[in-house]
């Protein structure tokens, strides 16, 4: 079996000085006259996005690449796609490579669906002939037959996405490099994407797949690489790599988690989360959270200046990275006019925790008006939900039965019972759950 990709000692250095402010020719000229350039030349701060990364990918292998935001995954994909160049190291790629870092690259609002298919196809490297011969299939895949001659500025975001992916799905490459495309779109669309990828896999194509969706990575990939801080931390079987990756996210669940030491966070930092408390209904810190229990999450923050109209929010993930829910003050229609400078906290009261026993992770975010992100902490706290008797059936319902449970009532009035049976007794005649074990 041949090698599709060989990466040897790959490193990439970025100058952050150059990124922080746009260089002006004016400054250069001023510097030239004041002889400043001599002193300033080596003042750029540099950062290594990748350091000495080496790996090989066999033909037909499906490799998942995982890691936190800013770990270097996207840089690696960009180098493999020839968009950016490495500072050091070698790459060898055999075969026709299609790289999909975005769906619908180069789409233009004013052009019709058909025109955009041809333009996007040509940007992705298809010839005009190829696109023509695949046009019917592309249109059918996207499900936009009626709108092919409509400018795509009239398309919904879902239609655009489907059209973009439809073109990409017909590229027919030897090697497919794909970045987080599945993070967008509805469930039906995601299923379609995964279907295309597993078809490619079955057709013996090599796929490199970057995603935060651990379930998708586990499902599709036979092998995974975990990149952390520009280095390869683990390379091996998907399940093991994902598990060791997830294990680093948060230490053991604590009643109060301190965020002041966390460095890998996003946002401007004018207001930051400093800690998270898990409290009981009466406001006492608790160590154990159980399904169906009342619970309060207390988010502690520190603001360096008065912050107008902030939104506090969080995301809850399963251990494999599936988003269970995202909610915030914005979702709840709560408007906070102003948060004063200094320390403070905000409570989220959960009347009954509707999670089945398992390990969950929380990500927190804090945003402002006009798309400002003040703070973003990924997978910063762990939540271990323990078994409880929330159905009051004494059956110990655990994580085998899913992720969530609904508070529910079974109404038996419509049943036609046998005359003799005393079915009204709940402890003996509860619903028979099919056992999976």
């Amino acid at each position: 079996m041949g090698r599709s990709i060989v990466v040897d000692g790959l490193s990439k250095q970025y100058r952050i000085g150059a990124l922080l402010h746009e260089t002006m020719l004016r400054e250069k000229l001023v510097n030239l006259f004041t002889l400043k350039s001599l002193r300033q030349r080596h003042r750029y701060e540099t950062v290594w996005a990748l350091r000495d990364v080496s790996f090989k990918v066999d033909d037909g292998e499906v490799l998942g690449i995982i890691g936190r935001n800013g770990a270097g995954k996207s840089t690696l994909l960009k180098i493999l796609s020839r968009i950016t160049y490495p500072t050091a190291g070698k790459i060898k790629v055999n075969g026709r490579v299609a790289s999909l870092l975005e769906v619908g690259t180069g789409f233009h609002d004013e052009l019709t669906g058909r025109e955009n298919v041809f333009l996007n196809g040509s940007i992705l490297g298809m010839t005009r002939k190829e696109v023509s011969s695949k046009l019917d299939a592309i249109v059918e895949f996207a499900g936009v037959e009626k709108f092919m001659d409509t400018p795509i500025k009239r398309y919904s975001s879902g239609m655009r996405l489907r059209l973009g992916f439809a073109v990409a799905a017909h590229l027919d490459p030897d090697i497919l490099i794909i970045d987080e495309v599945l993070a967008v779109g509805d469930a039906g669309f995601q299923r379609k994407c995964l279907g295309v990828m597993s078809d490619l896999q079955k057709g013996g194509r090599t796929v490199l797949f970057v995603s935060h969706n651990m379930a998708a990575v586990e499902n599709l990939c036979s092998r995974a690489i975990w990149i952390d801080n520009g280095l390869i931390r683990a390379d091996g079987g998907t399940r093991e790599v994902i598990e060791s990756y997830m294990a680093t996210f948060a230490g053991a669940q604590q009643a109060v988690t301190d965020f002041s030491e966390i460095e890998s966070r996003r946002g401007t930092g004018e207001i930051r989360y400093t800690g998270l408390g898990i409290l009981s209904a009466v406001g006492q810190p608790i160590q154990v959270v159980r399904s169906g229990d009342p619970m309060t999450l207390r988010l502690h923050y520190h603001a360096t200046r008065p912050i107008p109209r902030p939104s506090f929010g969080f995301r809850l993930f399963t251990e494999l990275g599936t988003l269970v829910t995202e909610t915030s003050t914005w979702h709840n229609g709560i408007e906070i006019p102003l948060v004063n400078q200094g320390e403070g906290s905000i409570d989220i009261e959960i009347i009954s925790l509707p999670l089945l026993p398992a390990r969950y992770y929380l990500s927190l975010w804090l945003t402002g008006t006009g798309n400002i992100i003040y703070d973003g902490l990924e997978h910063c706290a762990r939540l271990d939900v323990e078994v409880s008797d929330m159905y009051q059936s004494g059956r110990g319902i655990d994580g085998r039965y899913g992720i969530v449970f609904f508070p529910q009532r079974w109404n038996l009035e419509g049943l036609l019972p046998h005359e003799d049976s005393g079915f009204a007794c709940p402890s003996s005649a509860g619903p028979q759950w099919p056992s999976k074990s």
């Binding site: 790959l10 490193s11 990439k12 250095q13 970025y14 100058r15 150059a18 990124l19 746009e22 260089t23 002006m24 020719l25 004016r26 250069k28 960009k78 796609s81 020839r82 968009i83 950016t84 160049y85 490495p86 500072t87 050091a88 190291g89 070698k90 790459i91 060898k92 790629v93 055999n94 075969g95 026709r96 490579v97 299609a98 790289s99 999909l100 870092l101 975005e102 690259t105 180069g106 233009h108 004013e110 052009l111 025109e115 041809f118 333009l119 040509s122 940007i123 992705l124 490297g125 298809m126 010839t127 005009r128 590229l171 490459p173």
Partner: protein, 280 residues
């Protein structure tokens, strides 16, 4: 994004290699369809976004010509080498308008397509090149108008009009060369965006569009010859009124300058293009 065949490279990311790599330029041939598509896209969008569409291509040189004829011909009484004033100005404006609009488009082509640069691989030269190609359509439409003027002034058809396509190619190569340099500079220095229109505006005054080159005293001739647009515009005017004779000197110097600009452009662009996606 698809690229074909095996590739192999050794990193030299921030520095840029000094070795001339021919395969890089041969590769452009594989991307010729993208080159046409991008030019086609720019033309299509320009016509779709403007209310008058194609009419703009005609209105711009026509109205400028009318104002020039009135202001510089009638009021200021500038000479026109014996050619009727409207024809004289139109012959100057047609290449000039191509040059000024296309140079601005090509100079901004990398920055305005930053979404492509950071998401897809293709030879980066295609972006300024497609801007240069897209503008040629305007030139062709303008030439049809020029044929109308020639008919109106009852100028007999002459072989020198065959010069037009040759001059257009010369003009395109010149615009491509300068456009490449500005496009690459524009990625690195963001004030180029503001400097470029200003530079083009000043350039108009040192180019014989409003006045004939013959008006310039002889001792300044080497200076105006250095401006490659001088030779092109003068040759264009010659093509409709051959009685005054073609100024081979001006055209020759213009050709040499164009060649020089192209070499410098390709060199500078090639040296900087590896960093485009990182800083754009």
């Amino acid at each position: 994004m698809v690229y074909r065949g095996a590739f192999f490279f050794v990193g030299s990311g921030n520095g840029g290699s000094t070795r001339f790599d021919m395969s890089k330029y041969l590769e452009i041939w594989n991307y010729r369809e993208l080159f046409y598509f991008l030019a086609w896209r720019d033309v299509k969008i320009r016509f779709k976004q403007t209310g008058l569409g194609v009419a703009w291509v005609v209105i711009q040189p026509l109205f400028t010509m009318i104002i020039f004829t009135f202001l510089f011909g009638r009021v200021a009484k500038l000479p026109s080498d014996g050619t009727p004033h409207p024809l004289f100005y139109f012959c100057g404006l047609l290449p000039w308008i191509y040059f000024s609009t296309t140079l601005t488009l090509a100079g901004n082509s990398l920055v305005s397509n930053s979404n492509l640069l950071t998401k897809v691989y293709f030879p980066r030269l295609i972006l300024p090149a497609s801007a240069v190609l897209g503008g040629a359509l305007d030139f062709a439409i303008g030439s049809i108008l020029l044929l109308g003027f020639i008919a109106y002034y009852r100028i007999p058809w002459i072989w020198s009009m065959l010069l037009w396509p040759v001059l257009l190619i010369h003009l395109m190569l010149l615009t491509f060369g300068i456009g490449m340099i500005f496009a690459a500079l524009n990625v690195k220095y963001r004030d180029i965006k503001y400097a470029l229109p200003f530079a083009v505006q000043l350039w108009l005054f040192v180019t014989p569009v409003i006045y004939p080159a013959s008006m310039i005293p002889n001792r300044y001739r080497p200076l105006i010859a250095c401006n490659p647009m001088t030779g092109i515009i003068e040759a264009f005017r010659y093509s409709v009124s051959p009685s005054k004779g073609l100024d081979w000197q001006l055209l020759g110097v213009s050709l040499l300058t164009t060649l020089l600009v192209l070499i410098v452009g390709v060199g500078y662009f090639g040296k900087t293009e590896k960093a485009f996606a990182d800083i754009v």
